[in-house]
């Protein structure tokens, strides 16, 4: 199954690079900060809810 999904890897990477080039510096870090907040919230939820 993994082999069948491998073609998605370069597609995902290409999309990511395009996204990186398009996003200005400041919104990028803002997004990264909120992504970290999201991760923290999910961890907190997992820790509380088990």
């Amino acid at each position: 199954m993994s082999a069948m999904l491998l073609p998605l890897v370069p597609v995902g990477v290409w999309l990511g690079l395009r996204l990186l080039r398009r996003i200005p510096e400041r919104p990028f870090f803002l997004f990264a900060t909120w992504a970290l907040a999201l991760s923290g919230a999910k961890l907190l939820w997992d820790g509380l809810a088990g």
Binding site: M1, S2, A3, L5, L6, L8, V9, P10, V11, G12, V13, W14, L15, G16, L17, R18, L19, L20, I23, E25, F28, F29, F31, A32, T33, W34, A35, L36, A37, L38, S39, G40, A41, K42, L43, L44, W45, D46, G47, L48, A49, G50
Partner: protein, 649 residues
């Protein structure tokens, strides 16, 4: 108006729950008509009673409505008893009441009132005085019918019950009242049916809500007399079977209201008439198939926690038998406790997965047992520190699941339950610690193939991961497996994603070669290796729940701090000097939490965000770091439990 033209009128009440479809009123009214009585059953179909709370009030209202008596159905056959002044011997013996006669105090008052009614006089207001003449369910209708049958033409009664102990108890009770040897608990149904002249079927099997036969159809022969208390549908399978065998006597009996006094006094004669159905048959032996468990049918889904021991396997077999008898489905759950994994020499993490595999194997065997018995079964194991909490959660999940569909199921139920159906063959239960509780992993194990939804979710997760790794420095990369785990089990998610992540890391290195911050990596990667080592040693000692809780709090605190300082940082934007101690702390923390809780992202994100690197260097440094620690963890993934190991960061 002459006296002959005046029909005697009797108004009776039918009290019960779910009685709207009952044919008792029609039967009694027809019999009353045959006797020249205007016999009316009043069914309170618009106001269901609430567990007997309204029963006293309802009885008090009866006289005002001109009711001379009431007939009681479940669940009021016992609840009425404390409200009665007198009980008949039958009712006392059965601890259940079918018919209540309302009197104004004197034993013969009812007849008097009936005479008054017959003369067209209004009934006097009657105070609630009662005499129970009816019978019914102490242990189901079978008990009442058994008493009734023995009090009439039946020589010997063989009693069959889904619970053998109950049949023995009832037989003993009957022998005490009717004489030794009159009732026997039936152990061999086939042999009893060969001896029997007839069959009285007292379970609701055959009714619309519970189709089928209470016994193998081949046991019913043409010579058998069959009677049953099944009310709906009008012609059920047992009677149909009897007719198919050329049985002339296959008919629907009304044993619930026959002997023992299911009718009001003026209707004694119809009881005799009903008894006459049996009289010419000279029934010597009757098998009563009394299975109130079947009748109750309250166990539709049985959850059976399993610990891998022989005793739990034995219990499971019993549970499967019960489920088969009552048409229920079964869910077997095992709780895998990480702290029970063998420790030492860095094997604790693998030990946990060994136990997971053992649990999975054990549940395969359990599923095979149920499948072979033809019982619908699903099995899963859960990881947790507290088995009783996990079992309760599993029970709640089991309640939720039937009502959840599609995408809502994993989101609301929180667990994906693997279904194991048949064909598993191996009934051995290879759990290594027979008397030790199983321990385990992931939310759930799954053994069937991934469906279309799983493929779609996995594809989306991979795309998101690629975008995140290449464009966002892995900011969302850590969400791929949790995202997939909402639809497919983590073990499957890891097994599928792991090779792809490795390829993705290689692609990322190729793309970002030479752009990462070497100085940061020189601190972060060695620290992460130490963190991985510490995490491996402490695996099973620290609760992953606690680790996640602390890490989540730290991540949120970091975000809050960063957002609060953002203005100040904006004024002094640009790359900030490297803080070695912070780099080592975050690197070690990432390795540690990645090993223990599959959550290495937040610490490293916190570090690179604090550095104020340009976005390209931010992404490149993150990609190189995650590639390094994923490679460091690769031996664990490729070990005996390979893809069941921890999620990459």
């Amino acid at each position: 108006m002459s006296g002959q033209n005046i029909q005697r009128s009797i108004l009776c009440g039918l009290i019960g729950s779910g009685i709207q479809a009952s044919r008792t009123p029609a039967m009694h009214e027809q019999e009353g008509e045959a006797q020249g009585l205007r016999y009316v059953y009043k069914n309170d179909r618009h106001r269901p009673l609430g567990l007997g709370r309204d029963l006293p009030e309802l009885l008090d209202r009866c006289p005002a409505h001109g009711l001379l008596g009431t007939q009681h159905h479940l669940p009021f056959k016992q609840q009425i008893i404390p409200l009665l002044d007198e009980l008949s011997d039958d009712a006392r013996a059965l601890n259940a009441v079918n018919t209540v006669v309302l009197r104004d105090g004197k034993p013969d008052r009812l007849q008097h009132r009936l005479q008054r009614l017959g003369r067209g006089l209004p009934p006097r207001p009657a105070r609630r005085r009662t005499q129970a003449r009816g019978t019914a369910r102490r242990r189901g209708a079978g008990a009442a019918v058994a008493h009734a049958a023995l009090s009439q033409k039946v020589g010997t009664l063989h009693i069959r019950d889904a619970e053998p102990a109950r049949a023995v108890e009832l037989a003993a009770s009957l022998c005490e009242r009717f004489g030794a040897g009159r009732a026997l608990a039936c152990e061999d149904l086939a042999a009893a049916m060969k001896q029997a002249d007839g069959l009285i079927h007292c379970t609701p099997t055959g009714m619309e809500k519970l189709p089928g036969l209470p016994l193998p159809a081949e046991l019913i022969e043409g010579r058998h007399w069959i009677s049953e208390i099944v009310l709906l549908p009008a012609r059920d399978r047992a009677v149909a079977r009897g007719s198919a065998e050329g049985l002339p006597h296959a008919r629907r009996g009304r044993h619930g209201g026959v002997p023992g006094g299911g009718c009001l006094p003026p209707l004694h004669r119809p009881r005799a008439r009903l008894r006459a159905h049996a009289a010419p048959l000279r029934v010597d032996v009757i098998v009563v198939a009394a299975a109130t468990v079947q009748g109750n049918n309250m166990y539709k889904h049985i959850l059976m926690p399993m610990d891998g021991s022989d005793l739990s396997t034995k219990s499971f077999r019993e549970g499967v038998e019960l489920a088969k008898a009552i048409g229920a489905r079964v869910t077997a759950v095992s709780v895998v406790i990480a702290s029970h994994a063998p420790r030492g020499s860095g094997t604790s993490m693998l030990g946990k997965h060994v136990l997971e595999d053992a649990a999975e194997e054990y549940l395969k065997g359990v599923a095979a047992i149920a499948s072979e018995a033809g019982v619908d079964v699903e099995t899963f194991y859960v990881v947790g520190d507290s088995p009783h909490e996990e079992i309760v959660a599993a029970a709640e999940g089991a309640r939720l699941r039937p009502h959840l569909h599609g995408l809502a199921r994993p989101l609301l139920a929180g667990r994906v339950v693997p279904r194991q159906r048949g064909g598993l063959g191996d009934h051995r239960l290879p759990h290594p610690g027979a008397d030790r509780p199983l321990t385990g992993s992931g939310r759930a194990g799954r053994n069937d193939e991934m469906d279309a939804l799983g493929w779609a979710v996995t594809a989306i997760a991979i795309l998101l991961t690629g975008i995140s790794k290449a464009g966002l420095g892995g900011a969302l990369g850590g969400l791929a497996v949790p995202f997939m785990s909402m639809w497919i089990p983590p073990r499957d998610a890891v097994a599928v994603v792991l090779p792809i992540l490795i390829v993705m890391d290689m692609v990322g290195i190729r793309v970002w070669r030479g752009k990462a911050d070497r100085g940061d990596l020189l601190h972060l990667v060695p620290a992460a290796l130490l963190g991985i080592g510490a995490g491996t040693l402490l695996f099973g000692v620290l609760s992953d729940r606690m680790v996640k809780l602390v890490l989540g709090l730290i991540a949120l605190a970091f975000v809050a701090d960063r957002l609060l300082r953002r203005r100040a940082e904006a004024a002094a934007s640009g790359e900030r000097p490297r803080a070695r101690s912070f780099a080592w702390l975050c690197g070690a923390g990432a390795g540690f939490t990645s090993t223990l809780a599959h959550a290495g992202g937040p610490p490293i994100m916190a570090y690179v965000l604090s550095r104020g690197l340009p976005k390209e260097r931010f992404v490149a440094t993150s990609v190189f770091f995650f590639t390094a620690i994923n490679l460091a963890k690769l031996p664990f993934y490729l070990g005996p439990s390979a893809c069941s190991a921890a999620t990459p960061c």
